[in-house]
């Protein structure tokens, strides 16, 4: 995976103007003007704003919890986002035993450390392990500025740096915005879907995504079949950095609600939901979560969060991105400690509840969904092995 040199001379793709198309009228829909999916050489200056990150990762063997699996290495390209600060994905630093910055020209190296990491949002902020060595490493570096929120259809550039140190920009377009998970199952965050035809270059994990030369997001995954990238959205990166730079990363809040759609007319009738109303049915309330503490109950219907009405499928109208899943209103827009107002329908009667947002740490769960950086806990007694139940342990038994 390291140093994969696959510099195929890209053919200039005929930018889909077939003869018949030439006479066609301007498309009315605001579809992306199909950017030429071509990599162009970027200004060399961009290399002053990115560093390579070499991550040596070693996971634990859940079947023999006293052992670690053989280490493996990953390489990423992280944008410099502040003095001596580099952004990358949480995935890259999960279970990392050694992290190292490398300048794109390969002339400088320095060990790195994690300042803040959020595995749910898949973001991590790194700094040098040693301040003086770090200051030397980052000399002459120029942190990226953050862009405002790009709109659907806007061109976005994915930055790579080839092995020879030459930066490479792949021009793509912001095709869609969705609230999905790009790393851990069930962790939904605002994600850009960028259509671009990328090539293999020296670093494959976590690439900066730029809008007019400013940082607009971080590439978390690329599907070469569909040529679609999942990019962690600008807002999310901004909010992560704000909190992470304070040195006390707070994490994103959660409501602790399980909900389901209310499209079924019989269900709506029973819930006394009007035809003009939306609303999602609360099928479960997590103990100790924000919603439970505020008094939300199973069987309630959530009609609106603050002033945003929620439709029967759980979407609300975002001013820029259109219909987004409602969880973004909490996770993507609020901080721990903020208060929101939930408009509910309980037994056919409207009800308004103020909910103070808290965060429940995954490690507090009875069966944690992830355990990065922690060895599995076990006890060997007379040849019997006892282990704490975690999702990684369950997954070690296979898909069934």
């Amino acid at each position: 995976m390291k140093r994969l040199l696959l510099l195929l001379p890209l053919l200039a793709l005929p930018s889909c103007d077939s003869p018949g198309r030439a006479t066609a009228a301007e498309p009315v829909i605001q579809s992306p003007p199909a950017p030429p999916a071509v990599a162009v050489t970027a200004p060399l200056e961009l290399t002053r704003s990115v560093v390579r990150i070499n991550s040596t990762r070693q996971t634990w063997n859940d079947n023999q919890p006293w052992e670690k699996n053989p280490p493996n290495q990953r390489r990423a390209l992280g944008p410099v986002v502040g003095p001596n600060l580099v952004l990358t994905t949480g995935e890259l630093v999960g279970d990392a035993t050694y992290l190292e910055f490398e300048s794109t020209d390969g002339t400088r190296l320095t060990p790195a450390k994690v300042i803040a990491v959020d595995f749910e949002a898949n973001l991590a902020l790194l700094g040098p392990a040693d301040d003086t060595a770090g200051a030397k490493f980052f000399e002459g570096m120029k942190p990226f500025e953050m862009d405002g929120s790009p709109k659907i259809g806007d061109p976005l550039d994915i930055l790579q740096v080839e092995d020879n140190g030459v930066p490479l920009l792949t021009v793509g377009a912001l095709q869609g915005v969705d609230v999905v998970s790009n790393f851990l199952e069930g962790q939904y965050f605002l994600t850009f879907q960028v259509k671009a035809s990328m090539q293999s270059a020296a670093s494959s994990f976590s690439l900066p995504v730029l809008s007019k030369g400013k940082l607009a997001g971080l590439l978390a995954s690329y599907n070469s079949k569909d040529q679609l990238s999942d990019v962690i959205a600008t807002e999310l990166v901004k909010r992560f950095l704000e909190s992470a730079k304070t040195g006390h990363y707070a994490g994103f809040p959660g409501l602790g609600l399980e909900t389901t759609r209310t499209e079924d007319p019989s269900l709506r009738q029973w819930l006394k939901l009007g035809e003009d109303q939306g609303g999602i049915y609360v099928s479960g309330v997590r103990k100790g979560g924000s919603a439970q503490l505020a008094g939300v109950k199973k069987g309630d219907v959530v009609l609106a969060v603050d002033d945003h009405p929620i439709d029967r499928r759980g979407y609300y109208a975002h001013p820029v991105y259109g219909n987004l899943f409602w969880s973004h209103l909490i996770r993507g827009e609020k901080n721990v400690g903020d208060t929101i107002t939930l408009k509910l329908l309980r037994g056919g009667q409207p009800l308004s509840l103020d909910v103070k947002l808290v965060r429940q740490e995954e490690s507090d769960n009875l069966v944690p969904a992830y355990t990065f950086g922690h060895a599995p806990r076990y006890l060997v007694k007379g040849g019997l092995i006892f282990q704490e139940l975690t999702k990684p342990l369950l997954e070690s038994f296979g898909d069934e």
Partner: protein
């Protein structure tokens, strides 16, 4: 026929001196070919008539108008025809008794006249290891009678695959037993020592026969005119080999006694044994640390004592509780709920179609058809007998399908879940579900709560009738419910 290996060439071993030389060929006449047309219920669309099929098996005459064969030969039979070796005539027959738990059935022909003069088979003992036996039957590969020889290679307590849930004494032989052999006599010294019944797909030269203790028990059971399944002890045992465990229970290092880990509610041992007891002897036979006893010189599972008895018989149990030895008698009982884990035959699937929602009681037939992956359904199935769920819910009612209809088209993600409550009332069984769905004065809504669903299923009562009519017409459902097996 459901068992069995592909056909393979068998080199007949040279006749052994042990085998009676006067092997009478006229006895072959008493081995009949059984031709069956059957109808297997369809649990996926329970209102349909099911699948039609047929098969060939073997049977043999054991008394006046009594033909013994395997239950699986005549399961779900709609028509049974019997042919004498070498005769072209087919005699209509009917199933008098069928025991699915031990895979045996007794047939009679409508007109016994042509069979009157045929010899009748007698039963012998369990054949000894290494002794030679003959298997007679009508296996695939030809129309005529076939005889193979083999040696008894194992005597064991093992699974009878017909019901998937029962284990009894079993004798393994190395003679070729092929599809069609089922129900045929296995003969030694002119006497029947077993009934050929199953094979093993992944091994060569392994045929299994039902030994005579099982056959005799079946014949005795039906003397009163009906077959009442096996009685069960209702005890789960755990071997006590581990020296540390033996020490913890204050037991000497003598490999005796087995630990009781679970006692089935309502079963024979309920109220007599408790988890934690150490069973030392059953009917005076010492139980070893693996739960085995020595019976007639053979090392067999302690359940074999219960196997040979009937419901109502007594069994004495000696056990240690809290360090003290106790002895008590238990009256054997059958455990009808344990049929949850056995494939059912000759039963019409029960169901309710309600506005396109299909409700069916959970059993192994349904499980085999629907392959439920919901954890709640799997838990209810697994715990049904061991945890006594059957006491509260004789049926685990499952919402198996939703046939598309304007009323239910937006209901999704609830198929394959078990029903907890209907309008707030816990559902006991399918009949109860039917009553709750057809009350004298209907409520405004039917609210059906399912285990593990993220929402209740709600149906406005005033639209049910119209939906039922549409569903009945669109999916060609003759009867909207069947509550009887």
């Amino acid at each position: 026929m459901k068992l069995w290996l592909p056909l393979f060439a068998l080199i007949l071993p040279v006749a052994h001196a042990q085998e009676s030389p006067s092997a009478p060929s006229d006895i072959y006449k008493s081995v009949v070919r059984i031709e069956v047309a059957n109808q297997t219920s369809d649990y996926a669309t329970p209102w349909n008539s099911g699948r039609f099929g047929g098969g060939i098996g073997t049977g043999f005459l054991i008394g006046k108008n009594k033909f013994l064969t395997n239950a699986h030969v005549v399961s779900n039979a709609e028509r049974v025809l019997v042919t004498i070796h070498g005769s072209p005539e087919k005699y209509p027959a009917k199933v008098e008794f069928i025991a699915h738990d031990c895979d045996l059935a007794l047939l009679s022909v409508e007109d016994f006249h042509d069979f009157e003069k045929l010899p009748v088979f007698d039963f012998g003992k369990v054949p000894a290891l290494e002794s030679q036996v003959r298997v007679i039957g009508y296996p695939i590969g030809g129309e005529r009678l076939s005889v193979t020889r083999g040696v008894v290679s194992r005597i064991d307590f093992s699974t009878y695959s017909h019901s998937r849930a029962d284990s009894h004494l079993i004798v393994q032989i190395d003679a070729a037993i092929n599809p069609g052999n089922s129900g045929g006599p296995v003969v030694q010294d002119g006497k029947v020592v077993g009934v050929a019944f199953q094979g093993l797909r992944q091994a060569d030269n392994t045929g299994y026969i039902i030994p005579t203790p099982i056959v005799r028990r079946f014949l005795k059971d039906i003397e009163d005119g009906r077959y009442d399944n096996y009685a069960e002890l209702g005890v789960t045992e755990f071997p006590l080999h581990n020296p540390a465990m033996r020490k913890a229970f204050n037991l000497p290092d003598d490999s005796k006694g087995v630990l009781v880990t679970d006692v089935t509610p309502t079963g024979t041992a309920d109220g007599i044994l408790k988890p934690g007891d150490i069973l030392l002897a059953i009917d005076g036979n010492a139980v070893d640390s693996a739960g085995m006893i020595t019976l007639e010189g053979e090392n067999v599972n302690m359940q074999e004592i219960v196997e040979r008895k009937f419901a109502g018989d007594k069994v004495s149990l000696r056990f240690i509780r809290a360090g003290k030895s106790e002895e008590t008698e238990a009256v054997l009982k059958p455990l009808p709920p344990s049929r949850m884990y056995a494939i059912q035959y000759e039963k019409k699937p029960r169901y309710i179609v309600f506005a396109g929602l299909v409700f069916q009681p959970l059993d192994t037939n349904l499980f085999a058809t629907a392959k439920f992956d919901d954890v709640n359904v799997r838990r209810l199935y697994a715990d049904y007998v061991p945890k006594g769920i059957f006491q509260k819910r004789p049926d685990v009612v499952v919402l198996t399908r939703i046939e598309s209809d304007p009323l239910t088209t937006m209901i999704d993600g609830v198929q394959g879940l078990a029903v907890d409550k209907i309008n707030g009332v816990e559902v006991r069984d399918l009949k109860h579900a039917y009553e709750l769905l057809h009350p004298a004065t209907p409520p405004e809504f039917f609210v059906i709560e399912l285990f593990g669903a993220d929402r209740p299923v709600v149906l406005p009562a005033n639209q049910i009738e119209a939906a039922n009519k549409r569903v009945q017409l669109n999916y060609d459902i003759d009867q909207l419910s069947n509550l009887e097996e």
